[in-house]
């Protein structure tokens, strides 16, 4: 025993084993089951797993509900993530400068990320309420719309998609901003000074010095954001439940409604599994970034 | 390598950074495993013993004081590990702190101490459990120059008093010369020479030791196709300065640059006649007041008995030969 506690090799194994074991059991096992289910006919009630090959995938692929959801997922995730990266960069650069009350601004900007997302989204549910929306009230007060021209923010297909995208951006923007800000702060001041002395204009400085230097960190922020955007269902669940007419239904929410609420575990698992290739791509990209950071 | 310390000796491991001296020390401490060979402490092979069972104490370059403990707790820490009786601990701590005059700091945390005080706390913590061997890894390198001189003095006095075998790692040759009973000059993971300070300075075993010790180091010039000859800058003096006892080797010296350093003058230049073109340095004590300037030739000489000969390929010392 004493020797065990001294040898770094065995002590290391001993200390890490519980965590690894736990992760294998609670993440690995369900993960394998998720794949098994997707190829089986399992439902909430059934106790046995019989394999049905690609039947689930095929039947899922044929439904218009799935096709819409797949398209919505990409529209939702890509638009949201592009907005997050652009706005995050702008905001991070604005926050790089010192000004009075910066700590308060930072606290306020972080709120959407830190607060439980389901609760923050309810705040929006009220702001976008069909009858009492403060946005509509303000627009009317400004004379931009009439009393009968109030927008149904969550009730009209394109507006609903716009709303869920906006609120997703609202929620992820703080994370992207602080990550990008960390990247900007890590650029040595000398480099900016040198660029200034060399007479670089603002845009030249931005595109040829600043952005290339924070590229690895932008990649990290972008990858994490993509994972969140592709797999999250909370905003949509709380705001629209996929409606109206599935125009905001995404794979994650569809998997929930099919697998849990309708009790078709197999089909739900098959839908969720469509997210997997995407996650794999993100994981590989992340590993490459991590490796490159190690080398330099 | 073979390296044996004597009981109660102050042994210095000296070498440039990356020469393996710290690795050797860490192997003795048990923090690293030797790939082969045996380490003995007090006649017992300790290769398979963990650090705590080796009866050694070590002072790290950073002092490694535990930042979350007071000075008292830092020093009592090894005693608690050994299971020393509770009522004995304050007595032993008082003894150790008394040795270094830090009794008034017991309630402070390490961050509230100056560099010199930290070093003493580290020493007290090392000495408190009366180890068989005392290992010091560049313990003075974090002190400023002035403090370093007085700390060196204290360290030596303390070592003499407690008489524990001490192994001291440094890259600073002045520390090594001043502190060591013997010095092991190391390079590339081997001991190049082991000897008293006078031996390693006066009788270097090879060109590495000759070139590493002394500031500026020994002048080494090609004497023949297979032979190098070396002489110390302080022996390379104007002809008229030598007192005439013993044979001299005369050398024509064209000075290129003069550096005035207060106590000495350094003359940089090249030899003429014999060994033409060899770059050498002469070190003139301030008692020599003759004027020198760059661009002129002077007649210099080295006493024959101060010449050291080395084999050109191996770099090892060889017997004296006529030049």
């Amino acid at each position: 025993m004493a020797a065990l506690l001294d040898s770094p090799r065995w002590l290391g194994v001993l200390m890490i084993a519980p965590a690894v074991l736990y992760i294998v059991l609670v993440v690995g096992l369900p993960f394998v089951l998720a794949i098994l289910y997707a190829f089986s006919g399992v439902t909430m009630g059934s106790r046995t797993i019989e394999f049905v090959g690609f039947k689930n995938f095929i039947s899922v692929l044929e439904t218009t509900k799935f096709q819409t959801s797949l398209r919505n997922t990409f529209v939702f995730a890509l638009i949201a993530q592009v907005l997050v990266m652009v706005l995050g960069t702008v905001l991070a650069m604005a926050l790089l400068k010192d000004f009075r009350g910066k700590w308060l601004v930072r606290l306020l900007i972080l709120l959407p990320w830190v607060a439980p997302i389901s609760l923050g989204t309810i705040g929006w549910l009220w702001i976008l309420d069909s009858t009492y929306s403060v946005i509509n009230w303000t627009l009317e007060a400004l004379g931009l719309i009439g009393a009968d021209g109030w927008f149904m923010w969550l009730g009209v297909p394109y507006l609903a998609m716009g709303s869920v995208i906006t609120i997703h951006v609202w929620r992820i923007l703080p994370l992207a901003t602080v990550i990008l800000l960390a990247g900007l702060t890590s650029i040595p001041h000398d480099i900016h000074d040198a660029a200034q002395v060399d007479g670089a204009s603002f845009w030249r400085h931005l595109f040829q010095i600043t952005l290339p230097l924070i590229r690895p960190i932008m990649l990290v922020a972008g990858l994490f954001g993509l994972v969140f955007a592709f797999t999250d269902m909370i905003v949509i669940f709380v705001l629209t439940r996929g409606g109206p007419y599935d125009t905001t239904q995404v794979l994650a929410s569809l998997a929930f409604f099919t697998g849990i609420q309708a009790g078709d575990l197999a089909e739900g698992a098959a839908i969720a599994l469509f997210l997997f290739p995407l996650l794999l791509a993100v994981a590989v990209a992340f590993l490459r970034v991590a490796r490159r950071a190690e080398v330099t | 390598m073979d390296l044996v310390t004597r009981e109660g000796e102050f042994l210095v491991l000296l070498g440039p950074s990356g020469c393996g001296k710290t690795t050797l020390l860490r192997m003795i401490a048990g923090l690293e495993q030797p790939s082969s060979g045996e380490i003995l402490i007090g006649g017992q092979v300790v290769n398979d013993l963990p650090p705590r069972a080796r009866k050694i104490a070590m002072v790290f370059q950073s002092y490694a004081l535990y930042p979350h403990m007071t000075v008292f707790k830092n020093i009592a820490f090894p005693l608690k590990a050994q299971g020393v009786a509770k009522e004995e601990i304050p007595k032993k701590v008082a003894w150790a702190t008394g040795l270094f005059g830090i009794g008034h700091l017991l309630e402070r945390k390490p961050r509230q101490l100056s560099g010199g005080e930290r070093q003493r706390v580290a020493l007290a913590r090392a000495v408190v459990r009366e180890p068989a061997v005392f290992l010091l890894d560049e313990p003075l390198s974090n002190l400023d120059a002035q403090l370093r001189t007085s700390a060196r003095d204290e360290l030596q006095q303390f070592q003499r008093r407690i008489g524990i075998t001490t192994i001291y790692v440094t890259h600073d040759q002045i520390e090594a010369m001043g502190l060591g009973d013997r010095i092991a000059v190391m390079q590339g993971g081997r001991v190049r020479q082991l000897g008293t300070p006078a031996e390693v300075y006066g009788e270097p075993a090879d060109t590495f030791v000759a070139g590493f010790l002394g500031s500026p180091p020994m002048n080494i010039v090609e004497a023949a196709a297979d032979r190098l000859v070396g002489f110390r800058p302080e022996h390379f003096l104007p002809r008229e300065v030598h007192d005439g006892s013993g044979a001299l080797v005369a050398l024509g010296f064209r000075v290129t640059r003069v550096e005035y350093l207060g106590a000495d003058r350094l003359l940089y230049g090249v030899l003429e006649d014999k060994f033409p073109g060899a770059k050498v340095i002469a070190r003139l004590p301030s008692t020599v007041t003759l004027p020198y300037e760059g661009g002129r030739r002077y007649e210099f000489a080295v006493p024959e008995k101060e010449l050291r000969f080395f084999d050109r390929t191996s770099g090892l010392r060889t017997a004296p030969r006529p030049v």
Partner: protein
């Protein structure tokens, strides 16, 4: 006509502040709105012609009374705390040793394992909740808070292991080695020296675990069916919203109370969180 330098500076400054102001309003407005609504009478809220920015009728505490005494809100807060404390305990028990092992003991294979562990943090609940709901059922834990205690560490452990690994790596090795020479084993040095020095890091892990537990939605929604067993993040949106009548005042109060205090606490630790997230991508 070219602007004078002074005018240019003022415009740039104004633009900068305006930009920041715009983003700040966008981020914080929903929370401000929750706060305003909390104290409004229902009759005030339900009149479309009323200016929603001001109190047209005197403010009231009625919404808070309803929230705390007529709903299960307090119980949901208690449930969340119960799950949070237990998950923190489990997480620390497993992640602290694992983080140390990755930082110091496992060498090259540990580095790969560390990245592997971190990547499991990216496996989303939406991929796992279907088989998990089945497993939870098989274990007889459906509709029990213990199901959450069992499952939540699946995302807190990867993240905290990674975070703590960074902390442990930053501790000078000398300190552990000194403790080993002073008479302790590797493990003894870890317990006696490394853990006390890392309290700040461990506290950070505790805060993140608590916020992650508070945020979690999908598992709680899937495993828990009885209203009295909800956590706050699921109880408020599902139970309070899906009554026939929306009690907007109480609803907003419930959201505000559960969001803002945690956010303020979290704000003190966010830099460490980011340091964990960005791994080696910052040099």
């Amino acid at each position: 006509m070219a602007m004078s330098p002074a005018l240019k500076r003022v415009t740039a400054r104004g633009g900068h502040l305006g930009l920041i102001g715009l983003f700040t309003v966008f981020s914080a407005f929903p929370f401000y709105w929750m706060f305003i609504t909390t104290f409004k009478r229902t009759s005030d809220l339900m009149k479309r012609s009323n200016n929603p920015f001001i109190y047209n009728e005197p403010p009231t505490l009625e919404n808070l009374r309803v929230l705390f005494f007529d709903t299960l809100y307090v119980r949901w807060l208690g449930n969340t705390l119960f799950v949070g404390v237990l998950v923190v305990f489990v997480t620390l028990l497993l992640a602290v040793p694992a983080g140390y092992a990755l930082a110091r003991l496992t060498g090259k294979w540990g580095e790969h394992l560390g990245i592997g562990i971190f990547l499991t943090y990216l496996v989303p609940s939406t991929l796992l909740f279907i088989p998990m709901s089945r497993l939870i059922g098989d274990l007889g834990l459906q509709d029990s808070l213990w199901s959450l205690v069992l499952v939540y560490p699946s995302f807190t452990i990867p993240f905290c292991t990674w975070l703590l690994m960074g902390f442990f790596k930053a501790i000078p090795r000398d300190l552990e080695e000194a403790a080993m020479l002073d008479g302790y084993s590797r493990f003894g040095a870890f317990v006696k020296v490394v853990i006390p020095i890392s309290l700040a890091g461990i506290l950070t892990a505790v805060i993140f675990t608590l916020t992650l537990v508070m945020q979690e939605f999908v598992y709680a929604l899937t495993f828990i069916t009885a209203a009295r067993n909800y956590t706050v993040s699921v109880g408020v949106p599902t139970f309070l919203v899906h009554g026939d009548v929306y009690f907007w005042g109480s609803l907003m109060a419930g959201c505000f109370i559960a969001s803002v205090p945690v956010a303020v606490l979290y704000n003190f630790f966010v830099d460490r969180f980011i340091a964990g997230f960005t791994v080696g991508a910052i040099k």
